[in-house]
């Protein structure tokens, strides 16, 4: 009884997460599945960007605690996954981020004010997706994984040399859409990289109540797709794995699932209270795996970084933080009439009538 299905490359990922630079800042001896450590120059760039985004996250979290933003989900602790994966993208590739991925947006070049527009409540998506080749950050979990797959399918059909990358969380991996995206991407062999940031929690729900699998990367085999587990706090490993997966995709070899093991150092959002569901010891424990510390150690060893370099980067981070504060001090212009402007491409009479109702209300209230 033979059935015509692919039988190649059928295996489960190695148990040990792929990692180049260990928590101690030294090279590990973990097998790395043919991946190669990025150059010192690349790593220095990644270090710089991680320092910047960490400062960004801290500054925004601080402003949020002051009540200046409606809400904010920080990716503090996850800088290696955010920066490593996003930096691997070519300009023509598209990124499909989530609410947790402001660090990725920043890395993609989206201006601070445009990133924050959503969280300060100005407008749902503050930037032009076409300008930054970056989709609006998705809030409904896992839905963006399908957008990334469809986008990549269109690129493939058009013969474009572009791939897509989407982030998703350990929690989001349980949604039906994740399964459908893995399956569509693999059946269609789209150039899509699924970067699963396993930060151990979905709000309060720990990984062991989210899955009974040894690792989430084990899912890939069930779709005939390569799956990798990487140390998500080793930016070298993340960058190398994602770069290779993007190349695979552009080469016509289909999608890849990359599980990045990491940890959410902050609360879920500012309105969350993590003491209800995890110990401070656990958080302390994870500090020793910090992605920035280890890379700094490593680059100081190789000589790529010295006090002056570290200092310069720290200053750049302060400049960024200042620009965040500036952005927040500039009130965005809110035009209530825009409520009606973007709902349809084709104008609707009934909507114009409703706009008149609002305009009359505004006039009565003495609004501009």
């Amino acid at each position: 009884m033979t059935i015509d299905v692919p039988t190649t490359g059928r295996s489960l990922p190695q148990l040990q997460p792929i990692s180049f630079i260990g928590a101690d800042g030294r090279l590990t001896d973990t097998p790395t599945e043919g991946l190669r450590i990025p150059s010192d120059a690349t790593l220095t760039g990644l270090y710089r960007q991680m320092v910047l985004v960490r400062r960004f996250e801290a500054q925004v979290t601080h402003l949020t605690r002051q009540g200046r933003l409606a809400t904010y989900p920080s990716a503090a602790g996850q800088e290696a996954a955010e920066v490593g994966a996003t930096t691997a993208l070519a300009p023509n590739d598209w990124l499909f981020p989530t609410y947790r991925d402001s660090a990725a947006l920043l890395t993609r070049g989206v201006p601070v004010a445009e990133i924050l527009a959503a969280f300060r409540g100005d407008w749902h998506c503050g930037f032009d997706p076409h300008e930054y080749h970056t989709s609006p950050a998705a809030t409904p979990l896992a839905t963006q994984t399908l957008h990334a797959t469809g986008f990549a399918m269109a690129a493939k059909l058009k013969g474009e040399d572009a791939a897509t990358l989407t982030f998703l969380g350990d929690g989001a991996s349980s949604e039906g859409d994740t399964h459908e995206a893995f399956n569509f991407a693999s059946v269609w062999q789209t150039p899509t990289v699924f970067v699963l940031q396993n930060n151990q929690y979905a709000i309060s729900t720990p990984l062991r109540e989210q899955t009974n699998a040894t690792m989430l990367a084990d899912r890939a085999a069930g779709y005939g797709m390569p799956g990798l587990r990487v140390d998500g706090n080793d930016v070298a490993a993340v960058f190398a794995a994602v770069s290779a997966a993007l190349a695979r995709g552009r080469n016509g070899d289909g999608p890849t699932l990359i599980e990045c093991l990491t940890y959410r150092m902050e609360s879920h959002t500012n309105s969350d209270d993590p003491t209800k569901y995890r110990d401070t010891e656990e958080v302390e424990h994870w500090k020793q795996f910090d992605p920035i510390d280890r890379l700094e150690k490593y680059l100081r060893q190789t000589g790529a970084l010295d006090d002056a370099g570290v200092e310069e980067i720290a200053e750049a981070a302060e400049t960024l933080a200042a620009s965040v504060r500036d952005a927040m001090n500039t009130e965005a212009e809110i035009d209530p009439r825009e409520l009606f402007a973007h709902v349809y491409a084709t104008p609707r009479t009934a909507l114009a009538e409703q706009q008149q109702v609002l305009e009359a209300e505004l006039a009565a209230a003495g609004h501009a």
Partner: protein, 351 residues
């Protein structure tokens, strides 16, 4: 079987012809299925970015054969069978549309659009607004809907109220082959996402016409029969019911105007209000349950806009407030000519 009229129709031997465009071939008898098929074919031919995918739309040509022959003609890069997952179909269509394509996808039956509900309501309907118009999603979601085909459970739902109550969606439903062709082409060409609802029981309805044909624009309702005493509003499968009721009503001395809404969102207030102001009485007919059905919006807005012109409340002649029944009970559930006429009789005509 009675036949509805299109716009500007000439009735020939009980079938309807539509003024053919200058270059059109000789008129022939065309089913709604065939008209839809031709609309898809012409859209694929005219625009490289048009793609068709979904469950069984490729080799099989769809369970209703609406996509028949298209895979063979345009190849499996333009028309193909997807894995079986509706959220996956809509979700990937969104991505394709973001990347410049115009996907036309089929939900096999309307109860099977429900797994895609989140993608439709939270993304298809909202992406344009979310991005201040920078990202538009020109997606056409074809949904065969409604009953009267002896379908088993889940095969006869009328889901229009879910879509019409969602801002950001345009909802279109043809009642005849000429409109089916014209409205589908317009939907595919639209930069707004369109939920295109195809009345299953009318798939095999025939009209004599020559394709391509261009009917009234999709945001306009059409008066398909003129009358002075009552306005009957209908769409999709119930346009026939309305026309039959008008015919039967004529025997009772009632002059009934019939309007085919054609597009449910936006609602053509101008055309419909004008008719209601003339007749002072109206009823809306649909297959879906009454409570919270589309007819509620029709009745509410017509009353708001024309209260002083009304001699009687707008009535709703609909399915009952129960789940769509099994085939042997359909006839008792569906709004019939008798139910329409009974409803009209319930008005106090002395008012």
């Amino acid at each position: 079987m009675s036949v509805e009229t299109g716009t500007d129709p000439t009735v020939v031997n009980g079938e309807t012809t539509t003024a053919a465009s200058a270059t059109a071939p000789t008129p022939s008898s065309v089913t709604m299925t065939k008209a839809l098929n031709q609309a898809l074919r012409d859209s694929l031919a005219d625009d490289d970015t048009v793609l068709i995918f979904g469950e069984d739309v490729g080799r099989l040509g769809g369970v209703f054969r609406v996509t028949e022959g298209l895979r063979a003609e345009f190849g499996s890069n333009r028309v193909w069978d997807s894995p079986l997952a509706e959220s996956g179909i809509i979700g990937t269509a969104i991505g394709m549309a973001m990347n410049g394509m115009r996907p036309v996808v089929e939900m096999q039956f309307d109860a099977y659009a429900y797994p895609a509900f989140e993608q439709i309501v939270s993304h298809v309907a909202k992406m344009r607004n979310r991005t201040k118009g920078r990202v538009s999603l020109p997606i056409t979601i074809r949904i065969p809907y409604a009953g009267d085909i002896g379908g088993v459970e889940h095969h006869s739902d009328s889901s229009e109220a879910y879509w019409t109550s969602t801002p950001g969606l345009t909802v279109v439903t043809p009642s005849n082959p000429a409109d089916a062709y014209s409205l589908l082409r317009e939907s595919i060409a639209s930069d707004d996402p369109v939920v295109f609802m195809e009345p299953k029981s009318r798939y095999w309805m025939k009209e004599t016409l020559s394709l391509p044909v261009s009917m009234a624009p999709m945001n306009r309702a059409q008066v398909v029969r003129e009358g002075t005493d009552v306005t009957l509003l209908a769409y999709g499968p119930t346009v026939r019911t309305a026309l039959d009721s008008a015919e039967a009503g004529a025997d009772h001395g009632l002059s009934i105007e019939v309007i085919d809404l054609r597009t449910l969102s936006p609602f053509d207030d101008e055309t419909v209000s004008a008719s209601v102001r003339k007749t002072s009485r109206a009823a809306i007919i649909h297959e879906a349950a009454q409570f919270g059905g589309y007819g509620a919006e029709v009745a509410a807005r017509l009353t708001e806009r024309n209260f002083t012109y009304l001699s009687a409340p707008i009535l709703r002649v609909t399915g009952f407030d129960v789940p769509y029944p099994s085939p042997k009970l359909e006839e008792f559930y569906l709004p019939t000519v008798e139910r329409v006429l009974d409803a009209l009789e319930s008005w106090d005509w002395e008012l």
